[in-house]
Symmetry: C2
Subunit: 219 residues, 2 copies
Amino acid sequence: MAIHSHTKENYLKALYLMSLERENVSINELASRLNLKMPTVTSMMQKLAADKLIKYEKYRPIQLTEKGKKEAGLIIRKHRLTEMFLVQIMNFGWEEVHDIAEQIEHINSPEFFKKMDEMLGYPDKDPHGSPIPDRSGHIELTDHKSLCDYQVGKTVKISGLAQSHDEFLVFLNRKNIGLGTVMTIIGKEDYDGTMKIKLGKKELVLTQTVCEQLFAEPV
Amino acid sequence: MAIHSHTKENYLKALYLMSLERENVSINELASRLNLKMPTVTSMMQKLAADKLIKYEKYRPIQLTEKGKKEAGLIIRKHRLTEMFLVQIMNFGWEEVHDIAEQIEHINSPEFFKKMDEMLGYPDKDPHGSPIPDRSGHIELTDHKSLCDYQVGKTVKISGLAQSHDEFLVFLNRKNIGLGTVMTIIGKEDYDGTMKIKLGKKELVLTQTVCEQLFAEPV
DNA sequence: ATAAAAAATTAGATGCATCTAATAATATAT
DNA sequence: ATATATTATTAGATGCATCTAATTTTTTAT
Ligand SMILES: [Mn+2]
Ligand SMILES: [Mn+2]
Ligand SMILES: [Mn+2]
Ligand SMILES: [Mn+2]
């Protein structure tokens, strides 16, 4: 396992993550996600199919094989372990780690990631609340409930993010919202979905767009 | 700075390290060092010359420019900082870190290496006693005295290694010799250069080949 | 059902890093 | 000094990952 080019690994990872959202990944979507032109992607799909990493027939949507899912899972595992390591051990902020992990995920050294895993005490979530695949590449899919779905009066704990772009993370930092933050829903505006939240002693207003990106669990 | 391919970085590093030993690096030597054929190297030299990283004229030995030395120094810095991090922070043995550092040295993230440096307390030597270039890529060249050059009766401290191949490091582990190990020279065989050494309570015999690879300073 | 738009494929080119085979220059040994 | 061996360069090919332009297939809208 894991003797694929840096490039192929990035395709596999993108395919895996995209197929969690939109069942049926198209050449087009993959191309925009990876900032490549469609013919480039088509040509790579032919190679990945030859490697038995995807099931691919002309003009049909792309699907990872079990082998492909496993390989993808192992790369995502390295990415998320790395993010966790950067935050927990090296003291980076959760908004600083993605680009570094994007590179380190391609390091070929089981010992290196084994050691990270040990040092971190075998975590099962990354710093953004995303699940870390196990050593065989399998992801435990937890179904998340968005903050929006809770009613006024409920006290909940933030357990994950639907998206972790740096600007969103920085926004959350400013609002003092992080993984594990506990908050009470004190109001909800039906018209535009805005929520009023009590967080510690402070109250704040979150737009629907923000609430949709926050996963929460009752507490 | 540092927008060179992984490949070019490896050439630069090899050039730098080789030119510390044998003034005047040849295409041939570079080719064997990097496990490449000569035409491959010739062709890359033309590219590095175009980038002003080396001074190169057909059939003449190769020399790094100041720019080239700086870039090489920065890669070596990343390599050695990484080795130090792996040993000090992640608890790897000094014989396990080279191959991992060989990959991580290509990571493009000043913040990542800055953080390593901080966590390590700004070390100036790697786990094998080799100097870590400063942030501008400059190496402080310390001239080492080999263990061979000391006389019977002297007590010395191991301060570096002429070479750090894994098998040698494992050999030293077995003999309980590491960086900082203090030993007294209790005998020397002129015929074959073998040295008899007292290390703690134990005595051991080191062949000339081994002694030549050990750097030591008086203590 | 047909036309128009969007998506995907094929064909052909480019740049990078590598190779082998052929040739040329330099160094070495007689 | 000449022949031989070594080292280096050129020429030309290959594989990978990418591109643009042209073509084909599929989807959508009228
Ligand atoms: Mn990546
Ligand atoms: Mn993450
Ligand atoms: Mn390297
Ligand atoms: Mn070292």
